[in-house]
């Protein structure tokens, strides 16, 4: 981490400009704040009561303990499915980092530490519902029916990784931050206009809450009372920018109030809390109760992508603190305390997952010899004459260069 060198006002270094007057940029003071503090009228002000509740939900504490009275009493199969999916996400993630280092995929955005958010939320969806991903939800995709090899294709540089499998109602990875959030509102809007009881759920990061698209999407969802669930994966860091740089507000969930919709903050490392909050939000949306913003407080234990080094911007101590809150350790302890999971079962699940991932890698690597000519046919539903001409030109160039068709 860099020490901050100084906090001199902007515009004072080697400058021939006139000294700033109080209240101007460069004076180090902001006019806005001065006016807020110093009222210039003594007319008594009325208070506007804004009704907005904000709840916080945690079910499992950091050690996996639970107040027995409040155990959501999910059945054993459900609990083991949540466990398997989180573990799958973790092991897949570890494997992807290794593949990246070996040059077998490109830059990769790791998930470590955030598993409970994507599993707890996506697990509450039904097949007719839609899920709108950001770019760090492979576990949710796996649960929704994406095969492992397809999840790898995107990071390997193949559009095929965005060719959503048939019967899966998801959008593919969206790279521009928060640009996918209006799609959640649009899907939910279509569901409402077509009078279905489906819902749309989408993911955005803490950094994404600063984007205009986040604001606009929540505005629309509120105004039209849409069956939409917006999940903020607040992993504390937008590359090098801490959560505090995205807003001065105490929570991200409270932004819901500005849009007149419900908001809740949950412990994002507690899969039971995430799942419970999502189930409630979805049930409300299905009944026509409108959208919900769910802020899941979690932590990105690894780098933003394999292209950056988090040591430059955050402390080891902070990471260590969050490692103790690991969602997998916590859930593991809970399952063992309930007698649902033991060493033998855990080992068996790991072996199964590793087998699935290994088969996925083999399938991915077998699919890598693609035809570069495939960049043409999908630009439009039917190729235009212009593209046919350019495709012939490309074809001739590739022929001269001896590039095979790949198939």
């Amino acid at each position: 981490m860099y020490p901050i060198r100084d906090d001199r006002p902007v515009g004072t270094t080697k400058s021939a400009q006139a000294p700033a007057r109080p209240g101007e940029i460069g004076s180090g003071r902001l006019v806005v704040r001065k006016l807020n503090r110093d009222r210039i009228s003594d007319v008594p002000r009325k208070t506007i009561k804004v009704e907005h509740k904000l709840e916080y939900l945690q079910i499992l504490d950091e050690k996996g303990n639970i107040d027995a009275a409040h155990d959501p009493k999910l059945n054993g199969d459900t609990l083991l499915s949540l466990h398997r999916l989180m573990l799958f996400t973790r092991l897949f993630d570890e494997r992807m980092l290794a593949l990246q280092r070996q040059g077998r995929i490109g830059t990769y955005a790791p998930v470590r530490g955030q598993e409970a958010v994507q599993i707890g939320t996506s697990f509450a969806l039904k097949p007719g519902d839609w899920m709108v991903q950001s770019f760090r939800e492979p576990g949710a995709c796996f649960h929704r029916g994406w095969p492992v090899d397809k999840l790898m294709q995107f990071w390997g540089g193949y559009e095929e990784g965005c060719a959503v499998p048939e019967r899966v109602n998801d959008t593919p990875i969206a790279v521009p931050v928060a640009s996918q959030i209006p799609h959640v509102a649009g899907l939910a809007w279509a569901m409402k206009l077509k009078k279905t009881d489906h819902v749309a759920l989408g993911f955005v990061g803490d950094g994404g809450t600063s984007e205009g698209d986040f604001h606009e999407a929540l505005t629309f969802a509120g105004v039209f009372d849409l069956p939409a669930i917006f999940v903020i994966t607040n992993n504390q860091w937008a590359i090098s920018h801490p959560r505090t740089m995205q807003t001065r507000a105490k929570t991200l969930a409270q932004k819901a109030g500005g849009y007149g919709i419900d908001g809740i903050q949950v412990d994002g490392n507690d899969v039971l809390a995430v799942h419970t909050a999502t189930v409630e939000a979805i049930a409300k949306a299905r009944k026509g109760g409108g959208p919900t913003l769910i802020e899941c407080v979690t932590y990105r234990l690894a780098m933003h992508t394999t292209a950056d080094d988090p040591k430059k911007y955050r402390s080891e101590a902070e990471v260590k603190k969050w490692e103790k809150r690991d969602p997998l350790i916590r859930f593991d302890a809970y399952l063992r305390s309930k007698g649902i999971l033991d060493d033998g079962m855990d080992e068996q699940v790991r072996t199964d997952i590793k087998t699935t991932i290994k088969a996925g890698i083999e399938k991915y690597e077998a699919s890598r010899d693609v035809d570069p000519r495939d960049c043409f046919p999908y630009t439009y539903v039917e190729m235009t004459e212009e593209l046919k001409t350019q495709a012939r030109e490309f074809d001739l160039a590739l022929e001269r260069e001896g590039v095979s068709s790949g198939h």
Partner: protein, 326 residues
Amino acid sequence: MAQMNMVKALNLAMHEALSEDDNVVIMGEDVGQDEGVFRVTENLLMDFGKNRIIDTPLAEGAIVGTAVGMSLYGMKPVCEMQFSGFAYQAYHQIEGHVSRFHNRTRGRYRMSMVIRMPFGGGIRAIEHHSESREALYAHNPGLKMVICSSPRNARALLLESIRHPDPVIFFEPKASYRAFKEEVPDEPETMPIGKAQVVREGSDITIISYGAMMRPVLEAVDDLADEQGTSIEVIDLLTVSPIDTECLTNSVAKTGRAVVVHEGPRTCGVGAEVTARLVETCFFHLEAPVRRITGYDVHFPYFAREQAFLPNADRIKTAVRETLEV
């Protein structure tokens, strides 16, 4: 057949599309109760209700962004950007998602939607209401870029655009909205996207234009025919992406001379693309350099200066005469 202006013709196309397909919705600012600031959506709210004719909050990005979501769910949104000058707030959705979803998902999802925008100068509007930025969209793979010029082709092209499986950016020359009337057939009529139209046949020179510039072009053509008997072929591009190269080539191979006319800035404009194609396909037929009469590479002036700025029949006539003299 009924005589109508472009506003009525566009309204007719939307009425027909809404009637034939339940998945079509109209969305935008002031499109419902107010019936559009240019009245293009007149009576639609009354006829189709607020679930089909949707007044939205003032957020172009979310109008297009939610239309993406609707399109994913099988609907066919027709978005109105109140003026093309405000569409940049939605440009990231258009570039980032509307134009890409079909390719990105290898054809799994279509972005069947239309984004309508009034464009161009000539109505004495304030800043940001007069630009012609068709080249921005034409430069963007995955989009079709259509520009109507008359009531009849406005109706036919808009109806076709709404039925079309690809996303269409539909530019409406607002200076032509109420400028003249034309016979529009009673039965639904469409014109193919990607096809230009030879609106006058001639043998001496070809003028290629589109949108509101078609009017000064035709005025110049009539004048030159009267004054000096020049036989001018006129092509209305109608679609600027993809450009109908074959139509341009056939004409200029015959006439050997060409002038391209548009309001938008010259550099990297549609005229530059048309000229490049003519050089590629008609080089040995060309008797003279291809001339461009366009907006200059400056910001569109405020309206006190706009009439002086806009290309007009005199400038087109001069360019034609000079090109014929080479």
